[in-house]
Symmetry: C2
Subunit: 443 residues, 2 copies
């Protein structure tokens, strides 16, 4: 399938997440020219971003420069750019104007892969974002880290008991893996890491509330493991609040609605958001351009081979899509986890290589679910491996091994292992720094 | 010397830099209650901050939480606060109002140590700071890192050769150790780390200009080593511009005045500032309050025992002071380097302990100058050790050992060693991430 110029087909991959980089990796030796477009210059290992938010890890340990990933692949070009839309007829990706180019740039493609991921949605209340940082993006995680640590600092400084209680109350919204992991980390921070650090306050008295709208945590796990997770969290001083809907967030706390409709106000200085993701606007853009369905969470419905209906040259993958099976009668939403994106990226590389080599199209994408992991704290985790359901130390070790294995880059893996080893032995956290724009140029 | 309440004397230390933390460390077993006040919650290993600015190190590797340093010392309290001034008569340190307290807080002391350090001054042109970040504070170093990496990214994206040349021109202002180290690091970044990373540009063609107002680099070193440093820099593609005065800085470049008065315009996207430090405003505050002399760089003149004239209960140290010798006829400005601050901090701990134990006052502070080190790049450095003047690999190894030895915290030392080892073997830089406030909440 040669390009219009008769040259090698040009594959443009939008998004340097798990789906994108695995697609590009698989195309390094294919007879194509690949352009990877991302607005960040690094791949972020999102499953561990929450550990940056609690000072367990540094940004450099979970982020890896995209150029460094592919500098040895001459057929791969990395382009730092913000994709503003697509011209499917002209087969061009449109970039928002950058410093480099005055006018919007256009990147032509023969085959297009869009894997722009998703971001946390605030149930349509974007204004909540200021009061309740999420821990999906690196900057927001660093912001959350500063907020959490500052709360303890200010509690140490104040004499007002009520204010102190508010400062030492931490609300995590969302009982999924990220929320559970986040609440567990704050619990360990308060009980272990900071235990001896203060003189006026006892960090162990911190209130940590984990708010979940449904009747159990980790709904993607079997109920037995949800119960074990809740128990492990309680041991860390975390109080799960089930069947509670967040109806208000501001600088002073949250409003929670109970099943009976009563609204409870919780005064809290620190609120962390880990509920409800929304697909990238680029999913909607593709839907509008092609008439493909887009669901309430902004996910684009693609064919079983991840192509866009009516556009076999356009693929979409990752947690911005739903998949319609080959018979066209059932639509599946796969969990928004790294393994799905990784498998889809590898599948796309194979599908594209086959299409380019001999025009054959690939069969439907099949997700091999190897299981489900969530960690709560040191030697506390749950693992649903189908063959076995683990909890406690064994599940935790499984979690460690899996995450170290998938951590990109030999160096990062070593650094993270070293930090974790240190943290495990000393219960310390090396990266608990309060940093932020407000300090720009000071010191 | 009991406090007014008859309790143990209260020692307040302002500033968690090298002088401050060494003073507090030395007082852990003294019969005093110590309060360490800093507006940041971490000690920053400033001699390596420039390596964060070039992606060689992550913030967490050169910053260490103050509370973690002293959590085992029950007589030490760490207070996060911004000192706004002093009430020397009432013997109180005044803090700017924080979230914790509505009104300005006051911290009473019996003995006071002020070591608030210094910041880069822009020759009175604070507006230059926006266009030319410095690499002394952590945030500014991260800002500089993003600016440097973005310049390469935008150069890859643009087709305009003139714009590309501007994007690939880097100006470092100041030929002291930091400027030399910074220029050398950018040279290595362009020639080694990024060499294979781009397709449209060749990073090795980057112009790196090191601007120095005097007639040689590293004026604190003997001329022979200045020449060697200049030679090593040129091997890395850095062009030293001597006898050039910066008379203008804006977003598009710098204006340089030659000795003959002619002004040359250099178009450059990236300008890094490493020239001219100014002492903390707290030095002037103490000077105004006591009539003690303050020099043009804002440094406070203290007695030979680092006490404030007329205030034996107030000590000042670090690069915010000049020292008048015991005969009162000579004033010395010691170099603003870590060893001076470390020795002064240890001296203060001894002096205060002695004063508290048996009222004796200490002799004058004596600085033991062990020598002078500056690194230019891998296996390129200069060392003036009095006994010997080294350059090249031997000086570089000396520099490595000294800096690893002084890096606070077992964990950080290991992490930095690991990163450096990795960088040395692969010429890679793990932490070259473009991050910043503009990405807040995005992913």
């Amino acid at each position: 399938m040669p390009g219009p110029t008769g040259a090698r087909p040009r594959v443009v991959v939008v998004g340097g997440g798990f789906a994108g980089i695995n697609a590009v990796k698989g195309l390094r030796d294919a007879p194509v020219d690949v352009t990877l477009v991302d607005r960040r210059n690094f791949h972020l290992f999102q499953p561990l971003t929450y550990q940056v938010a609690t000072g367990a890890l540094s940004p450099g340990e979970i982020a890896y420069p995209l150029r460094a990933l592919f500098h040895a692949a001459p057929n791969v070009q990395v382009l730092l750019g913000d994709v503003s839309g697509f011209d499917l007829d002209a087969r061009q990706v449109m970039l928002a104007p950058t410093d480099g180019a005055a006018t919007a740039e256009r990147v032509p493609y023969d085959l297009l892969v869009v894997a722009a991921g998703s971001a946390y949605s605030y149930f349509g209340h974007d204004e909540w974002a200021d009061s309740a940082p999420e821990v999906k993006s690196l900057e927001s995680a660093l912001h959350a880290r500063s907020r959490i640590l500052e709360a303890f600092e200010h509690a140490e400084a104040t004499d007002d008991p009520e204010r102190r209680r508010e400062l030492l109350t931490f609300v995590v919204v969302g009982g999924g893996p990220t929320g559970v992991e986040m609440a567990g980390q704050i619990g360990e921070l308060a009980r272990d890491t900071l235990r001896k650090d203060f003189r006026a306050i006892d960090p162990r008295h911190a209130r940590i509330l984990l708010v979940e709208a449904t009747d159990r945590l980790l709904t993607s796990f079997p109920p037995s493991l949800s119960r074990r997770a809740a128990g492990a969290l309680e041991q860390l001083g975390v109080t799960p609040l089930l069947d509670r809907m967040v109806v208000g967030v501001d600088g002073d706390g949250v409003d929670l609605r109970a099943p009976d409709g009563t609204i409870e106000r919780v005064a809290a200085e620190t609120v962390i958001w880990a509920a409800g993701v929304r697909a990238s606007p680029l999913a909607t853009a593709l839907g509008t351009a092609t008439g493909a369905a887009v669901d309430g969470a902004g996910r684009l419905t693609v064919n079983a081979d991840l192509t866009l209906p009516g556009h076999p040259e356009v693929f979409a993958a990752g947690d911005m899509v739903r998949i319609r099976d080959e018979h066209g009668d059932q639509v599946t939403v796969l969990p928004g986890v790294a393994p799905v994106a990784i498998q889809q990226g590898k599948y796309l590389a194979k599908a594209i290589t086959r299409r380019v080599r001999d025009g054959r199209s690939a069969g439907p994408f099949k997700y091999l679910d190897k299981g489900n992991l969530a960690t709560i704290g040191r030697r506390r985790a749950v693992a649903d491996l189908h063959v076995a359901r683990l909890s406690g130390t064994l599940a935790w070790i499984t979690w460690l091994i899996v995450h170290l294995y998938y951590l990109i880059g030999f160096q990062n893996r070593l650094l993270v292992l070293l930090r974790w080893l240190y943290s495990f032995l000393t219960r310390g956290r090396g990266a608990r720094l309060i940093t932020g724009a407000e300090y720009e140029g000071r010191d």
